[in-house]
């Protein structure tokens, strides 16, 4: 090899890639898939203020504790005699009217943690608040189905703990072409082509080569499927819009991915909350409206369930900076065609019954939602994935 060629390899200059067939030998597909249903998980990072999203507009305590930031009549639209949604959620109204949205209130867990990172960790690993797990609930789902990396995709460049299992990890990807190109750099191809299958054992070197082969096989699978489908919908030009556009292309291409994960940050509204939250909720709602339309046009909406959560809610009492501080339980949104309990799943929090820190008390354990989805939607054994048995809910 000439120096120039080598430099091309090491700098991974693209444009040299080709599609060899040797890979077929290595490709293997998941041993067990139990369901063709898809789950899209969206995290509103930073702790969305649920009380200003789903508004108890008849409750005096709400106005008393939030003198400056309580929403006025012009800021929300009513969905019942007591409950209203933030105006930014108007794009979701059609979805709501069709009965595709279920709002679960008071979702949390015992002894809540008020740190962003620890709370996210608890939601991602599905642990108790005094338990520390080193793999995530979606990762353990992959373990259970003996899946491939592409069975769970995070739209990012690095993988979250939620997507990491004991024996298999999901895949972080922002652009299938980029992944495909980088895997077809001659450098990677050479490594893989020269690796003897006989040595694919469980020692560490074998594991490294195997991961490379699995990655290439995932990149292949995604690239082959995806090239047929580019979304024609105009998604909002924000970071969540881009993620959901990617996910819609994956779903509409028939990718064999069961779980997708996307996120939107900025919800940590300690100061001047009203404008910031309004913009963020608008980004979320507009994106969801287009995403649902996109799936419907492609006849894939039937098989998709969208779960939106935030690592915690915010305190009832506002602070002195026209913002809110870290709280506990919160609302969770479930969007799908076959929702059993449309609209409000349960009643709004009792604002007169707070914990010692002035925070809301939880009624639904978030793992009951996971258990329900695993059991009823993804058709797997929730107990072995969540390491515990949780009662099931009725939203699907």
């Amino acid at each position: 090899m000439k120096r120039r060629d080598f430099l091309k390899q090491t700098t991974f200059v693209s444009g040299m890639f080709f599609v060899p067939h040797f890979l077929k030998a290595f490709e293997s597909f998941p041993k067990k898939t139990f369901s063709n249903k898809k789950l899209v998980i969206i995290q509103l990072k930073g702790g969305n203020d649920g009380l200003n999203t789903v508004i108890p507009f008849q409750n005096d305590l709400y106005y008393q504790e939030r003198k400056n930031i309580a929403l006025k009549n012009a800021d929300f639209f009513k969905i019942s005699d007591e409950v209203a949604l933030h105006n930014s959620f108007q794009p979701l109204q059609k979805i709501y009217n069709k009965g595709y949205l279920s709002i679960l209130n008071n979702v949390g867990y015992p002894n809540p943690n008020l740190s962003h990172f620890r709370a996210t960790d608890i939601w991602q690993t599905a642990s108790d608040s005094n338990e520390y797990l080193q793999n995530g609930w979606v990762g353990r789902y992959l373990d259970f189905i003996e899946g491939k990396p592409y069975n769970a995709i995070e739209v990012d460049q690095a993988l979250s703990l939620m997507m990491k299992g004991n024996t298999i990890n999901g895949l972080a990807i922002t652009d299938p072409n980029l992944l495909f190109k980088s895997m077809y750099e001659p450098f990677f191809s050479n490594l893989i082509i020269n690796y003897e299958e006989a040595h694919l054992s469980d020692h560490n070197l074998g594991y490294l080569y195997n991961t490379l082969i699995d990655t290439k096989s995932s990149a292949n699978h995604i690239f082959e499927k995806i090239k047929t489908k580019n979304s024609t919908e105009e998604y909002p030009k924000n970071i969540l819009g881009k993620q959901l556009k990617t996910i819609s292309e994956f779903i509409n291409s028939g990718l064999e991915t069961q779980v997708y994960y996307a996120s939107l940050s900025g919800f940590d509204t300690h100061a001047n909350q009203p404008n910031a939250q309004s913009r963020l909720l608008k980004m979320y709602a507009e994106t969801m409206e287009i995403f649902v339309n996109d799936l419907q046009k492609n006849n894939t909406f039937d098989d998709v369930l969208i779960l939106t959560f935030s690592e915690f809610g915010r305190r009832l009492k506002q602070n002195k900076s026209n913002g809110t501080d870290h709280g506990t339980s919160n609302n969770v949104f479930v969007i799908g065609k076959n929702i059993k309990k449309q609209g409000l799943y349960n009643s709004l929090p009792n604002l007169a019954d707070l914990d010692a820190n002035g925070n809301l008390k939880h009624e639904i354990d978030f793992r009951e939602i996971y258990a329900t989805i695993l059991d009823k939607w993804l058709a797997v054994d929730d107990t072995s994935i969540l390491n515990k048995s949780f009662s099931k809910l009725n939203f699907i």
């Binding site: 690095a158 990491k164 895949l171 922002t174 490594l191 560490n204 080569y209 991961t211 490379l212 900025g266």
Partner: protein, 457 residues
Amino acid sequence: MKISHIQHLYHRVGFGISPKESLLLSKKSKKTIVNDLCNQSKKVSPILLDVSFLDDFTPETLKNPENKMLLNKLSREKVNSFSVAWFERLQHPTEILREKMTLFWANHFVCENNNIVFVQQYNNILRENALGNFRDFVKKISKTAAMLNYLNNKQNKKGSPNENFARELMELFTLGQNQYSENDIKEAARAFTGYNHKEKGEFDFKINQHDDKEKTFFGKTGNFNGDDIIDVILEKKECARFISEKIYTYFVNEKINKSHIDKMVDVFYKDYNIEKLVHFVFVSKWFYEDENIGIKIKSPLELLIGIHTIVPYQMEKSQQIILLQNLLGQVLMRPPNVAGWKTGKYWIDSNTIITRLRLPAVLLNNAQITFSEKGNEESTINELKNNKLERKTYLKVFADWTSFEVNFKNTSPEEMISQIISSKINAGTLANLLKNLHHSKKDFSIQLMSLPEYQLC
């Protein structure tokens, strides 16, 4: 001492060694080399950042919530600077064994905080005690502001106990799972009530909040405080075993060899002297057996610093190292939770394997890197505006090829393979390498460092 054994020792005790240095050392005996390594680490060099920005804040000005938010923001940024300073320390360590052990303890006594004063104090306590007495070490950790906050012992008060610290003290820091009862946790938590700290991080024992009644812990009854509890725990040989196994996993092999561990426990249980324990490991014959060489998957930090040992490099924008650590799955000062990073195979997923293999090209050959700017839980909406789901960039890195040329001056290309790669090499990969021996040393070194084999040490 055999060159290959010197390399093995230095991969584990530090982050590798240049051929020039290993040749120099090869005239010495194993015992002398290990003794020297220990002696060179007697000194403690704390990492101390300038935190004078804190002087601008007084209890009076902090009554304004906006000042408080500003303080938090500046402090968070300073924690990132500390992370960078720690990385640079690992690039240029004077006490190599001490620094490698500090990294070990940071993934044992796992802690995270956004207060720069607490973080700095905590990190330097890890460094000071890294090779000291484990008993003193645990007691000091239990009194640090960072840990009191992280595991909520600050909220642990007489009459309203918080068991978080007591539980993790036993499960993660000293004994491991299933070695204690729930009642032991309850009683231990009572002993740690009243632990608190002052504003600058000094320990503050609030006697009014301390439960001074009798406790029964591991069958012993007494008017125990936190230190007493730690003493009772350390009487159990399981504690010496738990730590020995973890050190064995870190320095020797993830596959535990019981007879090796038994010997380590005998050494450690006597007086819980950490330096004696690791010294024992490094002079033992089994440490140098083939089954223990070139089989461990490097942590992201071991990989990043390992490359630096071969070709010293410096990032032009020092904070960009955090970006790389993030893509590789290990950001200094930002552990996933108190259980720490899962090591070995768990470092590797589809994304990290690609990043790892491309890393030498990114650092040394100006290859492009792609990252995401989705923000995290603490990002604000204003930061969101310019964020990109996918940003491609080149890192500006100054690579010191002159040092490389000097260090590898007398090394032939064939020797470079064994100098840079310590694992067995896949036959097909080796055949390819042998075809490339005529490449420049510079290219060949990058090629070697880009292999799956280079992920092992």
